[in-house]
Amino acid sequence: MIYHELVIVGGGLAGLRAAIEAKKQGIDVAIVSQVWPGRSHSGAAQGGVNAALANHPDSADDTWEKHAFDTVKGSDYLADQDAVAQMTKDAIPVIYELDHAGCPFSRFDDGRIAQRPFGGAGYPRTCYGADKTGHYMLHTMVEQAIEAGVPMYVEWFVARLVVDEGVCRGVVAYDMVGGTFELFQAEAVVIATGGAGRVYSNSTNAIISTGYGMAMAYHAGVALKDLEFVQFHPTGLLTTNILMSEGARGEGGYLLNGLGERFMQKYAPKAMELAPRDITSRSIQTEINEGRGIDGKGYVYLDLRHLGAPKILEKLPGIRDLAIHFEGVDPIEEPIPIVPSQHYSMGGIDTDMDGRTSMPGLYAAGECACVSVHGANRLGGNSLLETVVFGRRTGAAAAQYIDGLEDLGGSAAAGEEALADVRDRVRNLANREGGEDPYAIRAAMTSTMKEHFGVFREASVMQAGLDKMLDLKVRVKEAELRHAGGVFNLDMIRTFELEGMVDVALGIAAGALARTESRGSHSRTDFPDRDDANWLKHTLAFYQTDGGPRLEAKAVGLGMFEPQERKY
């Protein structure tokens, strides 16, 4: 048994920021992460992070209120406006804090942090470090955590929560190198495990972004919110879905169809390529569906050639490397073939502005949480921001909660029970003979999600998809483990993950089918309009052992801005 007052599951930006904050408040906090924190998915973020610093010559009169407005409008009014206000206000000090911690942001000539235009934003307010912003921020944050002396359990896979009479009291984790399961007792737990992109086969996300953290909370009875809102990024590489940052369009890249037209003219004449992601993805998908892909095939071009080699090399060196290595295309000489790809989970564990869930002692922050600041569609550059703003607030709130507790220690019984439960689960998986192949289930799930719950959605298609998913949920209970060895057992980790993924995917499916309107990223051909009268509300999904989730509604926090039609 290992004891820390606060256990943070996940060492991405959100987890690290929460840990640093709690440590500052004198809490005994530890990070437990499946990968070395510096390898977390946050490091893959490219384009940048938003804050109304007003450093760009064109953004001299930018304010946090304008940032808030853009965010709310981008969210198709589903975001909670008080949370958005909090985030956009905090954005400014948070970016300065990162700079003071050494984050290598790119600079303007006057030495201030450089900013670039991003989709859906009225001003160029996306701070960036070349096209490796996430990598830079993540390493800076790891360094801060090391300096603060936060202990890190690296390559420990958290398998489940410990819940004692409705209060979260720790986790059970698999020590991948040691090869054993251990119990972590804690006064509180923060889940910061990132997104669930890998439930789709066409995702830009890291392979470990499976949404397992969401599933842990979900299985423990905490609601997942707004799962149906899945962002499709307009520009993923054709063969691998690796992301070509929005920064590429921010720097002036064009989108071209098979006829060589800048087709965004038709869909967003003012914003052109810099329309928000949902609109741009739909535009691309429409071109493809109507036969105007390149050579009539299922992709279009992202063309950077006119930017010239010097600008590409200075501002988008990482994009160029990725295109060369993964698609065999040098953007200086050729246009890049791209397709819309699953990119971000707007939904997640239902929390308030301080990362609190409905379960005492359980907190969540980052992409796995849904505060909600992204509503139905996230603006590029807002999720890196979310991780640090709400990571900090969550760390502080958890620290405060622990300070307020009367008797520390918790009951050992619940922990031992949870540990035994996990061990049973492994034994059952390993002892099953002739069970289902987990990887066949995984493949069926990811392609079902891609085919049935993609950019455009429709009732009959979704119903068929939901049925398939329900079938997969039955099958996954029969999954068989082929390798039961102790050390670094990927077979076991990936099968565990799969069980969670199927449930999260079912949540997406059920929510999408239920929501009979189009809003933000959720675009239904059978209900093309937004329906504020009936659907200006969040969806809450509660886990049920059998079948899909039980759905409930939750009010949206309004107040600052009146919902209006979204035009770009």
């Binding site: 070395w36 390898r39 050494g102 201030r112 090391i146 691998t240 993964f326 483990l481 990927l490």
Partner: protein, 245 residues
């Protein structure tokens, strides 16, 4: 359908106590079919999913930014996720863990020392003055100095390739020194005496013999040697010429 043969070095720590005590070391051959393109990482997943569930390796981003999947492929350091089998020579693809590192299992190396050394060089900014209200001004020229070192993904290739590391367990190695450099050249860093002794010692920069294996090994095409030589010069400038930084 084209096929690729993977020849993978295996090691199982749970068999270390068997009669021969080698951890069942061997090379296993696997045949992986693919359509038009296949990265080594995808091949490893195919094997793990379909041919041998006990195979272990590290992975995360699959986009060459996280540094998890550095391996020794056909006798060269590569990121498995970034290596397309089409670009490798014909014949079996030999996949081994990074050389001269303790092996946890199969392709997974023990990186404990590597990270411990990284932490030794105080890999964080050091400021003595109060921070300004806004950002610390940094000219684009000063920022440019960071371009190379901040791209390090701490994959460990350079560290594994350095003969000075093999011989001397305490040598910090190229990656940690590159990190020290990353902060020492940062115009915002105000360290004077704090970080200097961490790298300016006989298990630090002076253990580097400019062998340059690290430069050849780095999958991100960085130049740790240059950084280390800069650090040696910096020590001279500071100790001998009394420069602040």
């Amino acid at each position: 359908m084209p096929e690729a043969t993977f020849r993978i070095k295996r090691h199982n720590p749970e068999k270390l106590d068997d009669q021969n005590g080698t951890g069942d070391d061997r090379y296993d051959d696997f045949t992986v079919p693919y359509e038009s393109s296949l990265t080594v990482l995808e091949g490893l997943f195919y094997i793990q999913e379909n041919l041998d569930g006990s195979l272990s390796f590290r992975y995360c981003c699959r986009a060459a930014v996280c540094g998890s999947c550095a391996m020794y492929i056909n006798g060269t350091y590569r990121l498995a996720c970034q290596t397309n089998v089409r670009h490798l020579d014909d014949g079996p693809i030999t996949v081994e863990p990074m050389p001269h590192m303790p092996v946890v299992k199969d392709l997974v190396c023990d990186m404990t020392d590597f990270f411990a050394k990284y932490e030794t060089v105080m890999p964080h900014i050091i400021r003595n003055s109060a921070p300004p209200e806004k950002e610390i001004i940094q000219s684009p020229e000063d920022r440019k100095k960071l371009d190379m070192p901040v791209d390090c993904i701490l994959c460990g290739s350079c560290y594994s390739s350095c003969p000075s590391v093999w011989g001397e367990g305490n040598y910090l190695g190229p990656a940690a020194l590159l990190k020290a450099y990353r902060f020492e050249v940062d115009s915002r860093d105000e360290a004077r005496k704090e970080r200097l002794p961490r790298f300016d010692n006989e298990r630090g920069s002076y253990r580097c013999h400019t062998i340059t294996n690290c430069v050849e090994a780095c999958p991100k095409e960085l130049n740790p040697t240059e950084a280390i030589q800069w650090l040696k010069g910096a020590a001279v400038r500071r100790r001998l010429l009394g420069r602040a930084k």
